[in-house]
Every structure is written in structure tokens, then in C-alpha cells.
């Protein structure tokens, strides 16, 4: 069997395994989708009074809307964390060692896991995007945000702004951002043999990274040190790309044409770098503990 077909077969089967596992473990949906939603609703409503809305083009962006792209980022991040928890479990419980001694290319281990995790993340993000519509309880802005306003235009709250195109623009960004965050989780989780260690990484590194991504508060209204931290944070650009695609460029990092292109390019670079780092770490044969 050629290298390519063995890579394809192994990647597909490892991806499929991720999907089967996901649909068999309902609690993962709670963890990675419901938690961010609750978070969004509580903070969005809670801050709605104190949030200084940005008035642009005759419209005020409220806290719910501001937090919306960041919530998508949080869903992706949490899904990445969950799927990489299972990487650690695979190592601890033995599944991974069986994969490592098989002739399957190491690349397939990375691709299967990262594409599997990213697929779940995209699926959940899409569920989240459809939520305001399904609930029918949110405002005009929320409809517009979700990219479903082409359906919403059937209602009396019709808004002329594009919906379907928003959605099309959003999808590639979701894919790239999901791949990047899942691969980052993979790189961090590889080599760890306890989920407790990954919990520490999650609380000490991943959550602060999310907080400093512009998901929660804008980059330009913070002290200088923090601003540089935020600008150095690759997640900032993923969140910004989502925000731009959702036509919230009024509160984006850069306005104009570059507003979408620049963060998108940086998000692609981030994803490529993370996948590369993951491939590199898996091809190194260990001299100490189990590879």
C-alpha cells in the first residue's frame, strides 16, 4: 500500500473514531457548547447595562453582540480542550500506544485528531449560530449576527443586510480557526500523561489567552502592557476575523478592506504553525517515557 493511501485510510479512520466517540458522549456537548452559551447569556445580559455601546451606522452594538464572536471562539477552544483531553486518556488507557506501533504515518495521528476535533468545533459553532434563530427570543442584532437574516427577512423585523454571504464568509474562518486551536491543544497535550496537568494548562494558559483575545473587552481600551499582550496573542486575530465576518467591523482591530484580510491571514499562519508543531512533536521518538 502506498504512503498516500495508507495516510488517507488512517486519517479517515482516526477522524471517524473522534466523531463516533463524540456522538456517544453526550456530556461533551454540555461541556463545550452549553457552558459557553450560558456564559454568553449571563455576561451578555449582566453587562448590558454597564456596557458602553459603540454607536455605528445608526446602530448600537450591545454587550450581547460584542460577546458573540468571542463566544464562538470559546466554543472552539473548549471543544479543542475536550478533544485533547481524550488524547491524554488515549495515552493513559492504551489506545494511543497501539496506534504508535502501527505502520500508520504519524501525520495521520495529528490529522485524524485535529480534523476530528475541528469538525466537532465547527458543528457546535454552527449549532450556536442557529440558536438565536431557533429560540426566536433575541433581538434584531442577534439575528443579523448569526448569519440567518436571510431567513429573518421573512419576518416583520426585516433587515436588509446580507445574511447568506455572512455565513459563507464565516465558514472558512471557522474551519481555519478550529484547526489552529485544536492543533494548539494537541501540541500542548502531547506527552502529558495526566488530565490534571492539562487542567493546569487550561486554567493558567488557555483561559487567559481567551480573555486576552478581545473576546471579552476591546484591545484598544486597555493599559499598554495588556494591549501588547493582546496583540501578541494569536487568538486575538481569530476572534477579530470572526467579528469582521459578522460585520461588526465597527469594533474590529482595523477598519476597511484589511479589516477582514489581515486577521484572516494571521489566523491561517497560526493554524499552519500549530499543525506543523504537532507533526514535529509526534515524529520525535521518545527516549524516556512512552512515546
Amino acid at each position: 500500500m502506498s504512503m498516500e493511501s495508507s495516510l488517507r485510510l488512517a486519517t479517515t479512520t482516526l477522524w471517524k473514531r473522534e466523531m463516533v466517540r463524540f456522538f456517544r458522549q453526550r456530556n461533551r456537548i454540555t461541556g463545550s457548547l452549553m457552558n459557553p452559551i450560558v456564559f454568553w447569556l449571563l455576561f451578555g445580559w449582566g453587562l448590558s447595562g454597564s456596557f458602553q455601546g459603540a454607536a455605528v451606522a445608526g446602530r448600537t452594538i450591545g454587550s450581547m453582540e460584542y460577546l458573540f464572536p468571542g463566544t464562538i471562539a470559546m466554543i472552539i477552544l473548549f471543544t479543542s480542550i475536550f478533544s485533547n483531553f481524550s488524547l491524554i486518556e488515549d495515552r493513559k488507557e492504551g489506545f494511543l500506544q497501539g496506534v504508535l506501533v502501527s505502520p500508520a504515518p504519524r501525520l495521520a495521528i495529528v490529522l485524524g485528531k485535529v480534523l476530528g476535533g475541528a469538525s466537532v468545533a465547527i458543528l457546535e459553532a454552527l449549532l450556536f449560530l442557529s440558536l438565536p434563530f431557533a429560540l426566536g427570543l433575541l433581538t434584531e442584532g442577534a439575528f443579523r449576527l448569526t448569519g440567518w437574516e436571510f431567513l429573518h427577512s421573512l419576518t416583520p423585523l426585516a433587515d436588509a443586510r446580507v445574511g447568506f454571504w455572512t455565513f459563507l464568509l464565516l465558514l472558512p474562518i471557522l474551519v481555519v480557526f478550529s484547526v489552529g486551536l485544536t492543533a494548539m491543544g494537541f501540541r500542548l497535550a502531547w506527552g502529558m500523561d495526566s488530565t490534571a496537568g492539562f487542567h493546569a494548562v487550561m486554567m493558567g494558559f488557555l483561559l487567559p489567552m481567551w480573555l486576552l483575545s478581545g473576546a471579552f473587552f476591546p484591545v484598544d481600551k486597555v493599559p499598554a502592557v495588556m494591549r501588547w499582550l493582546m496583540r501578541a496573542n494569536p487568538m486575538t486575530y481569530g476572534v477579530d476575523a470572526l467579528r469582521q465576518a459578522l460585520q461588526l467591523h465597527e469594533v474590529g482591530l482595523v477598519t476597511g478592506l484589511f479589516g477582514l484580510i489581515l486577521p484572516s491571514i494571521l489566523t491561517v499562519i497560526f493554524a499552519v504553525a500549530m499543525v506543523w508543531a504537532s507533526i514535529r512533536v509526534t515524529t520525535k521518538r521518545s527516549e524516556g517515557s512512552l512515546a
Binding site: 463516533v20 456517544r24 502501527s102 521518538r285
Partner: protein, 339 residues
């Protein structure tokens, strides 16, 4: 994978060699496993000290040793999980450092903890594992069916692995390791966590495998009971091969019987027994241990000579544990006391 006819005529180049070329065909007489001066260090600690070992094709070879003796390290090196820090190891005639990928497709590896996804069904586990070995379609289905029947798992095929008992999981894992028809199967402590019935059952399967063809089995164990069932044994202690041979031959090295004497002052008694009867009595674990033929006739003499000092006397045929003690001068520790 590939055979010699598809191998390129040009000599393999570095980098591409591992992927594109077929390894040279192995002569039928080459050992299944061969190590020369194999050494592995974890920092300062030497786990394998210049090990020379050959496992012949078609045998069940046991690596017997206490935990921490080096057998897990050797297992990892042979299963291509870890590159050794010195010496060479060849598996099926291929170098573990250079030809890892070619080796992987020809060996089956069964770990101490089953390499199964417990959230998946038995059949899913086998199918996915088959895919990792490049098997697919009807061919894979046929092999899976064969193995399910051979291991009497056919009626459990659509059960989740987590619902199976330890013994059944082990059988599924063994089936997983055999899917691609490996020439050599490496098994790390295969009977760990199994009840006596499941142990006997597993050994029946292993012997059937060996009988079936030219398959070679290499089994690590710290259990004498398992070691007894191997064709040949290599005894590992502190990273060194201290004994090699069939279990019966190893036990034959000990002259006749083993007598163990309990006493309050073992060193003194040992010296006095040596003065009086000669031989090489030794103190092991606070007891005096004597190896000699005709133990039953010797004990009355011993008791007569030192009646006041002896509290207990035990007579036994030599076991592998005695062999280990004989070879290393210390007791076989099942706990990793060195760590």
C-alpha cells in the same frame, strides 16, 4: 506492504528509504529478534546493559524478570516505540532504528493495558485497527470474522469494549494484534489482571497460534507460572541477561533439590553447614538455602548436626524462582524495590 519486486533498483536514499523502499527479504534462518550490545540509559540509570539475545523463529520466548529488570525497556525498543541509546536490535532482520516502519507492519504488539477504545464496539475497534495497518474492505471483514470466531468473540462483536470482562478485552486486543497476520507478536505481561481461568484460556490461544505456523511469540512476564509455559526463557535482571534456555534446562542447572532452612542466626549456620557438608549454601532473605541432590536423605543428617539451631526446614524441587536466585544471588522481587 511491499515486496522485493516493487523495490526500486537504485540504492535507497536517506530520508526516503523508510517510506519507499522494500527492505531486503529476510532469510528464513534469520532470528526473529536479535540484539547485539543493546544498551539503554534513562539519564544515569542503565536499563539495558549490553544485551545479546536471539529469539528463533517459531518459538514462544519468555522474557522473565522482576519489574525494573529491563524487560519493559526491551519491549519498547523491539516494538519501535523507543530508540535504544546504544548497540543494535534487529527485528525480523530489520534494524529498529532505521526500518521502524517496515517492522511495524510485520509485527503485532499487545500491551499490558489493551490498546482498545473502550467507548467503541468490539467490531469497530478491530475495523479501525485494521485500517491503521492498511487493511480495508472485504479482506478486512473476512479477517475480522475469522479472528472473532477463533477467539469465541463473535456474539460480542457489537458490544462496547467497556462492557467486556478483563479476559474478553484481552482476547479482543490479541485479535487486534493479529489482524494483519504478523510474523512476530510481542506481548507485554499478557496475563496481568486476568483470573486463573482466563489465564489458562489465553495460554491455550497462544500455543494454538504458535502451532498454526511460523509465528514467533515474545512474551514478557514477571510470573513464574507464565514463564513455565514458554519454549525458552531469557532471564533479565538489572538490565543484564543472566540466564537463557528452556525452563526445564534452566531448572536442571540446579543440582537436584533445594532445601531452605529457617534459623535465628543464618550467617553462622551457613558457615557451619559449609564447613561440615561442603557445597555453596547461601543466605537468601534471612534463610539458609542449600542446593544439592538427594535432599530427602540429606535433611536427617542436617537436622542431626544442627538440631538446636534449626527452626524450619523446607524441601523443594527447584523452581524458576530458585533458578533466578541461583543466578543472581538474590530473591526475585515482584515489586520494583530498586525504584
Amino acid at each position: 506492504m511491499t515486496d522485493a519486486s516493487t523495490a526500486p533498483a537504485t540504492p535507497p536514499q536517506a530520508g526516503a528509504a523508510q517510506v519507499a523502499t522494500a527492505p531486503a527479504p529476510t532469510p528464513a534462518t534469520a532470528p526473529a529478534v536479535e540484539t547485539a550490545g543493546l544498551t539503554h540509559r534513562y539519564g544515569e540509570r542503565v536499563a539495558l546493559a549490553a544485551l545479546d539475545l536471539a529469539v528463533q523463529c517459531g518459538e514462544i520466548f519468555g522474557l522473565l524478570g522482576p519489574n525494573g529488570g529491563g524487560k519493559t525497556t526491551l519491549f519498547r525498543v523491539l516494538s519501535t516505540l523507543m530508540a535504544p541509546t546504544g548497540g543494535t536490535a534487529r527485528v525480523l532482520g530489520l534494524d529498529v532504528g532505521k526500518d521502524a516502519r517496515a517492522i511495524r507492519s510485520r509485527i503485532g504488539v499487545v500491551f499490558q493495558t489493551p490498546s482498545l477504545d473502550k467507548k467503541l464496539k468490539v467490531i469497530e475497534n478491530l475495523r479501525y485497527a485494521g485500517h491503521l495497518y492498511g487493511l480495508a474492505g472485504a479482506d478486512l471483514d473476512r479477517r475480522i470474522q475469522e479472528l472473532l470466531e477463533r477467539f469465541r468473540l463473535a456474539d460480542r462483536a457489537s458490544d462496547l469494549v467497556e462492557k467486556l470482562s478483563g479476559g474478553l478485552q484481552r482476547r479482543v486486543d490479541l485479535a487486534r494484534g493479529l489482524l494483519h497476520g504478523p510474523e512476530l507478536v510481542l506481548m507485554d505481561e499478557p496475563t496481568t489482571g486476568l483470573d486463573p481461568g482466563a489465564r489458562i484460556d489465553l495460554w491455550e490461544h497462544l500455543r494454538a497460534l504458535r502451532a498454526g505456523g511460523k509465528m514467533t511469540l515474545l512474551v514478557t512476564t514477571h510470573l513464574m507460572e507464565d514463564a513455565e509455559k514458554c519454549d525458552r526463557l531469557g532471564i533479565l535482571d538489572q538490565g543484564k541477561l543472566v540466564g537463557l534456555g528452556a525452563p526445564e534446562a534452566l531448572k536442571g542447572q540446579i543440582g537436584g533439590d533445594v532445601i531452605t532452612v529457617g534459623t535465628a542466626a543464618p550467617e553462622q549456620l551457613r558457615d557451619r553447614i559449609r564447613e561440615r557438608f561442603g557445597g555453596e549454601p547461601a543466605v537468601v532473605d534471612g534463610k539458609v538455602r542449600i542446593e544439592r541432590p538427594g535432599g530427602a536423605r540429606f535433611i536427617p543428617e542436617l537436622l542431626e548436626a544442627f538440631s538446636g539451631e534449626i527452626s524450619t526446614v523446607m524441601l523443594g524441587k527447584p523452581t524458576l524462582e530458585d533458578v533466578f536466585t541461583h543466578l543472581t544471588g538474590h530473591r526475585f522481587r515482584t515489586e520494583d524495590e530498586a525504584a
